[in-house]
Amino acid sequence: MKISPEYAVQMRGITKTFGSLMALNKVGIDVKKGTIHAILGENGAGKTTLMNILYGFHQADEGEIFLEGKKVFIKTPHVAIAHKIGMVHQHFMLVDNFTVTENIILGNEIANKLGIINYKKARNEILKIVKKYRLDVDPDAKIENISIGMQQRVEILRALYRGIDILVLDEPTAVLTPMEISGLIKIMHELTKDGKTVIIITHKLKEIKSSSEFCTIIRRGEYIDTVNVRNKSEEELGAKMVGRAIKLVVDKDEAKPGKTVFEIENLHVYNERKISAISGLCLKVRAGEILGIAGVDGNGQKELVEAIMCLKKVKSGVIKINGKEIQNTSVLNVLKNKIATIHEDRQKRGLILDFTVSENAILGKYKLRPYSKNNVLNNSEIGKLTKKLIENYDVRPKDCQNSLAKELSGGNQQKLIIGRQITCEPDLLIAVQPTRGLDVGAIESIHRILIEERDKGKAILLISLELDEIINVADTIAVIYNGNIIKTFSQNEADEKVVGLFMAGGKVGANARKNS
């Protein structure tokens, strides 16, 4: 394509290496002005890196950038901001204990000659934008007290406040609820109506279909193609991305459930604010069965997991594994009773980011032989285990054993955790949002792993906010609402619409009483 002013952004021959790793190899992209343009690629493909280069956060080793046909050199974010580029990062860049207003004006304060900030004026400016784009944001709230959805709107607001022409959104929907996602897409359309250009990185093919005109696909640091989204199905997009045909729904045989392994009876748990978060919940998971818990965020999922893992006190009720009660004991006891959990927040509870991959691989096992003897670690055995994990669960790059966990891309961090937890040989595997932020290729392999474990006779409790995931993977679907299971379906009776209705609490009074 020619360099032309019709394009808001054109990047040419961008190459970037991190040490010996080639993150991007001569990648180019052309983004038409006033469009929404998606970037699709596997975890670690280099999407974030490419956008960080556009934003001046990283420097390319080679390559050129053109904005509206003019060559530019973007050495720092400061330059990018001057060129009216805004970016919402994958991991939010907000100062937790600042107010929304402080976060928005930071670096671009409305101040007098002495540097004294005029907060009143800043606040009014912000409110103007809030009104214009109908963003629901409270300028006086502290970041740590607002929802993730609102935090994201703060990030967008921050970009708009700086007066942008181009907005880059890096995986903006990974942590949003379906409602918030449709709100975001509305905002994006609103922006393009204003002549602004939006670049969005996302793994969710559905969202690309519903928001974008064009989609550029990157695979392992190489440019693959740019397609017109309208002419491509979700499967075609996914296949292009991973380089092979993929299944968005993993095949599986009928479940052959055995005896009940795990049981919860009449569970009551309070949340932090001493309000009942789980009230009278009952459920059963049998060997060789995946029980999926569907529900909108905040209906007690978090407390349920914490109660099972003894991270939170149970007020009343019974939690039993293999007939043995474990409620209100200790995490260690839960682990001893062969329950393994893939936690929702992999960076907080799954991994120690500053440890190496192999150190992370033996978390929870380091006391066991052969990984240690007489309190001394056996590094060669640990190395063998790590190699096996990397091999079996396709953690990339292959030679990451001694890299720090934080250097892995999100998807690969997740595969490492899942591998580690499964090799604990648990009787019950709890997977909370196991595919959040992962690409469709990785999702496929994680779903396959879960189903394989089921076929080996494990009991699996899958908790996810993605209804698709629950419907595709679970054998039995339980809908959680207001701290209670209000309805259960078997997989073949579950219809997205009906389940969705129950998730929103519909029909509760009419015909669905507690169903366990």
């Binding site: 670096g107 004294i116 720090l404």
Partner: protein
């Protein structure tokens, strides 16, 4: 029976002033994300340089200024190590605590014919009122350095919470990557703050040798830097609260002086512990949990974040 009167205010302030200035140094450095446990070393270097310059130039004001500059120079080393080379901030600070007194004594021997004590300055820092005033003015005739320290506290508070520079400093101390993506130069800001930290610590040291006494000796600075750091933490990294903690300590110190003047049954060694114990007690009982700036102590390297 001991009584506290207005007369004690100048003394309380005299004890507190070096601590307050040291604490301000700690606040500014930690607020932008660099732990500076080298405050004591910087104060020591400042105290020596101030006394020496004050002696040779026969001008305490210039002496104080040079004290500040010497502290700033030492702090520059800290900045180079921690900001440019991402060194461990605790180790670098410890090194400075060893270098500060060592260098001061070394130069002292060179300059003052082998003596580790500098010669007495001809002019000390003045008090706010002349010696001739009487009545209440005489009672509250505090050191001018105390007044300066209090003004600096107000200034620090104002800058940190009301100006864009303060907003940026606090942001860099909490989340440097976020600040960087908004076009703020993290390194430059950290350099500035660390050097300032040394400057104020140096002045704090100068207050000891130019206001409290009138020469530098090896014991002029003996742990004030660490007490200042404790005040920073007790003060939750806020200038006004850190200042409060320093004043509390100064108050406890005066109490001790008075107590040990009395004939009492308590051994003087126990009484000497009083300021520390009292400070800790009050702070445990009345000050809640304090949370450090999130990025404090962590080197910032944008390629691994």
């Amino acid at each position: 029976m001991i009584t506290l009167t207005l007369d004690d205010i100048p003394n309380i302030l005299m004890y507190s002033t070096p601590l307050i200035l040291g604490a301000m140094g700690g606040v500014i450095s930690e607020r932008c994300g660099v732990v500076n446990i080298g405050i004591d070393g910087m104060m020591c270097m400042g105290a020596f340089t101030a006394a020496t310059a004050g002696y040779f130039l026969a001008n305490p004001w210039l002496g104080l200024l040079f004290g500040g500059l010497a502290g700033g120079l030492i702090a520059l080393l800290h900045a180079i190590a921690c900001v440019t080379f991402n060194a461990d901030q605790t180790i670098s600070g410890t090194a400075l605590n060893l270098i500060g007194p060592g260098l001061a004594l070394f130069i002292s021997r060179l300059v003052f014919a082998g003596s580790t004590q500098t010669l007495t300055v001809s002019r000390k820092m003045p008090k706010i009122f002349s010696q001739e005033v009487s009545g209440i003015f005489r009672q509250i005739n505090i050191d001018v350095t105390s007044l300066i320290a209090l003004i600096i506290v107000i200034l620090f508070w104002f800058v940190l919470y009301k100006t864009k520079w303060g907003l940026r400093i606090r942001a860099v101390g909490e989340h440097p990557a976020a600040a960087e993506t908004l076009g703020i130069n993290v390194r430059v800001l950290r350099y500035a703050c660390v050097i300032m930290s040394g400057f104020f610590a140096g002045i704090g040291g100068g207050c000891v040798t130019l206001s409290t006494v009138s020469c530098f000796s090896p014991t002029s600075i003996s742990g004030q830097g660490f007490i200042a750091l404790a005040a920073v933490i007790f003060g939750k990294w806020m200038p006004h609260r850190a200042c409060g903690a320093c004043l509390l300590f100064g108050f406890a110190q005066i109490l001790t002086v008075k107590l040990s003047g009395e004939k009492s049954l308590i051994p003087s060694q126990i009484i000497a512990m009083l300021p520390y114990v009292l400070t800790i007690l009050i702070l445990i009982l009345f000050v809640g949990k304090s949370v450090a700036p999130k990025a404090s102590g962590k080197p910032y390297n944008k390629n691994i974040c």
